[in-house]
């Protein structure tokens, strides 16, 4: 492949797949800027390595896999446990502005909140673990002693019910 052909495929793939790759990276990283960084760095890598790919389909498969790997690595490195134990919060509770926890339930929109509350108990618990505690399916399965397939099924049930409840809202 000539370098002109490479440049052409590179540019076309960027135009065509950027949005989808970013969307995918966002689901993995939950942060739009980090998702952009991820997509940028896989394209940079592709350009640096000059990896030769036959056509757009091959490029698509290559890029999605690269985003997946890149994001999983980023998550592994960044899996940051905000350490502040109970005693700790108490120690500094004189300061009224102590930061408590990210993604608290109260910040949810009323309609979304009532849709979540309408979920069956188990389904709701799993949804909250995934959405609010940002746990992975495997972690939830492990904690609840269920199979990953069950978590998948419960999550898709949650989505189905939420879609119905939020029909007007969405």
């Amino acid at each position: 492949m000539s370098s002109d052909q490479f440049d052409k495929l590179f540019k076309e793939s960027f135009d065509k797949f950027f949005d989808g790759l970013h969307r995918y990276a966002f689901t993995l990283l939950k942060d739009s800027d980090k998702a952009s960084d991820a997509v940028q760095s896989i394209f940079t890598k592709w350009w640096e390595m000059q990896t030769q790919l036959e056509n757009q389909d091959a490029a698509k498969a290559y890029l999605y896999t690269a985003v997946y790997r890149h994001c999983l690595n980023a998550i592994r490195h960044e899996k940051v446990k905000v350490v502040h134990s109970e005693s700790y919060v108490r120690e500094f509770s004189t300061n009224s502005n102590v930061f408590v926890s990210p993604g608290s339930f109260e910040e949810l929109d009323d309609q979304v909140q009532s849709a979540i509350e309408s979920l069956p108990a188990q389904c709701q618990l799993i949804f909250k673990k995934s959405r609010l505690e940002e746990k992975r399916y495997a972690e939830i399965a492990d904690e609840m002693n269920l199979s990953i397939k069950t978590i998948e099924a419960q999550m898709s049930k949650a989505l189905k019910i939420m879609r119905e409840k939020l029909q007007d809202y969405i």
């Binding site: 960027f14 950027f18 949005d19 989808g20 970013h22 969307r23 995918y24 966002f26 689901t27 993995l28 990283l29 939950k30 739009s32 800027d33 998702a35 952009s36 960084d37 991820a38 940028q40 760095s41 394209f43 940079t44 350009w47 640096e48 698509k60 498969a61 999605y64 896999t65 985003v67 997946y68 960044e78 940051v80 446990k81 905000v82 350490v83 502040h84 700790y88 120690e91 500094f92 502005n97 930061f99 949810l108 929109d109 979304v112 995934s130 959405r131 992975r136 399916y137 998948e152 099924a153 999550m155 898709s156 049930k157 989505l159 189905k160 939420m162 879609r163 939020l166 809202y169 969405i170």
Partner: protein
Amino acid sequence: MIQENPFDEVLVSKFIAGEASPEEAILVNDWIDASEENKIYFMRLEQAWTLEKNTSGSTRKKEMVWSALEKEKNKTQQSKKKLGISPYRLAAAILLLISVSAVLYFFNISKQNPSVIVWETRQTSNEIAELNLPDGSAVKVNRNSVIKWQRKFDGSNREILLEGEAYFDVAHDPGKPFVITTPEVKLKVLGTAFNVLDNKEQNEIEAIVTRGKVLMYTPEHQIIIEAGMKGIYHKQTKALVLVKTKSNNSIAYATHSLSFSSTTLKDVSDQLSKAYGVKFVFENKKIQECRLTTEYQDKSLAFIMDVISESLNLIYTIKDNTVYISGDGCL
């Protein structure tokens, strides 16, 4: 919803929850891209689900990433072609000359070993130093501080050593984290603006983040500090805590951004002293109790004093870094 390509709840829920494999992600994205309707429906669903604003599909973001890529490409091409001295390189060379003796003094680097990382140093006494680092990051170093940085940032990280206080506006480079080491705690960033203070009086290290996110960590613990938050490392307990930033006045030496809300003139003058490196002398001590509510963005001291004198009915003069204030003020 389109008919020929039905909405697959299992796949979409996996995708939104961040559990989709690359193959599954392609399927979901193909469905999303199949029609404008699907796209809008998905965006709303995702937003209701995650309650986070995803800017996927924003053309601005796409353009930004593309232009960043173009830059990267040019950089590699340029280094291949070995172009002559660019203005950036010239700037770096000048910086190097200024600080080379300090480097030798601090690290006693042997000239025989070129692989040794070369550190540069800048020490401030009664002045605030503004530096541009080799990667384009900007630093304002407050008074009585020492900062050291790698000459070329050619390691896997952009390494900085700091004693004292500095405000960093870090150039974005996701491939090369920006790491600041203080004697006790480290901070890591990808691209952001924030302030680090080794507060010896309080026996703690403070990091105020004004933009982006910063990771503050020790071998045992770590916290993520987001914009508007302050991370504190307590030297005695070795604990890391997050608190909300009440005001950014303490870093006004770097930002020149001050805001006061029913603040006494005494406190206002203390903040101005720190920000502009001046002393205040009050003819009538009572006027220090007058209160002020106002905001200044990047204004000169003279401008600020004009406004204050006008609103509190004072007279001021500035001479030899001292502000003399007289008048009856609000009394």
